[in-house]
């Protein structure tokens, strides 16, 4: 069996490229609604009562979960794409990936905790 000089060299990144496009398109669509809600009607967007009402509805919960998940993934995968443009030693490349994944999971759980507390 062939030993690869660089770990992960079998991964072309094609799936990540594809998912980056798909998540980006979904994020743009959700963002339009988000912007209209938060900035065209600031009171509906920012008062505690209005926010809590949305937080209790399954529809808005779904929107928020999608937003947090795709937003974080898209952002951190994009950050990984920046690193990928440079030649990295395998250990450094692995370390950065692990750190990005941990960062993503940490903030994902914080976001999930806020959304699912209501």
């Amino acid at each position: 069996m062939r030993t690869y000089k660089f770990f992960g060299s079998r991964n072309s990144g094609a799936k990540n490229w594809y998912m980056q496009r798909i998540s980006g398109i979904i994020l743009v669509i959700v963002l339009i609604g988000h912007y209209v809600l938060m900035h065209a009607t600031p009171d509906a967007g920012h008062t505690y009562k209005a926010v809590l009402e949305r937080m209790h509805s399954p529809f808005w919960k779904g929107i928020d979960l999608t937003f947090v998940t795709l937003g974080l993934w898209h952002g951190l995968n994009g950050t990984w794409n920046v690193f990928r443009d440079y030649t990295l030693k395998p250990w450094l490349s692995n370390l950065i990936q692990i750190l990005l994944i941990l960062l993503g999971l940490t903030f994902w759980f914080i976001g999930l905790n806020t959304i699912l507390s209501f």
């Binding site: 008062t47 009562k49 950050t79 903030f107 914080i110 806020t114």
Partner: protein, 130 residues
Amino acid sequence: MSNLTVTTFFSRWLEVLFNYRKHTGSWAWILHRITGLGLTLYIMVHIIALTGLLKGEAAFNEEMAMFKSPVFLFGEWLLGALVMFHSLNGVRIALVDFGNGARYHKQILAFVYVLGVLMVAGMAYLIFLH
């Protein structure tokens, strides 16, 4: 790596960056990258800020009142500008990758800049004057 090699590496990197000939797409790529990193940082701040919801009505409303101060309003507008460029150019990238955008990517970029400036001006109206 010693301090010296880090400096040499960095100055060489800067040298390459500045000596590269920048075509129209290069600027879009640079801006997409900077705005993307900024937005990634922002979504984390945003997630932390919204944990304020768990502290009850008074604390949350106090936090929201803080966001209405001029400094935060300006930050909101700046954020809107980052989002606007990143999403418009993101649509351009999707068109180039999935559609026939490679033929028209320069025209789409001109469209991105014009529409972006108009939308960011509209945001200034919504945020500062509405």
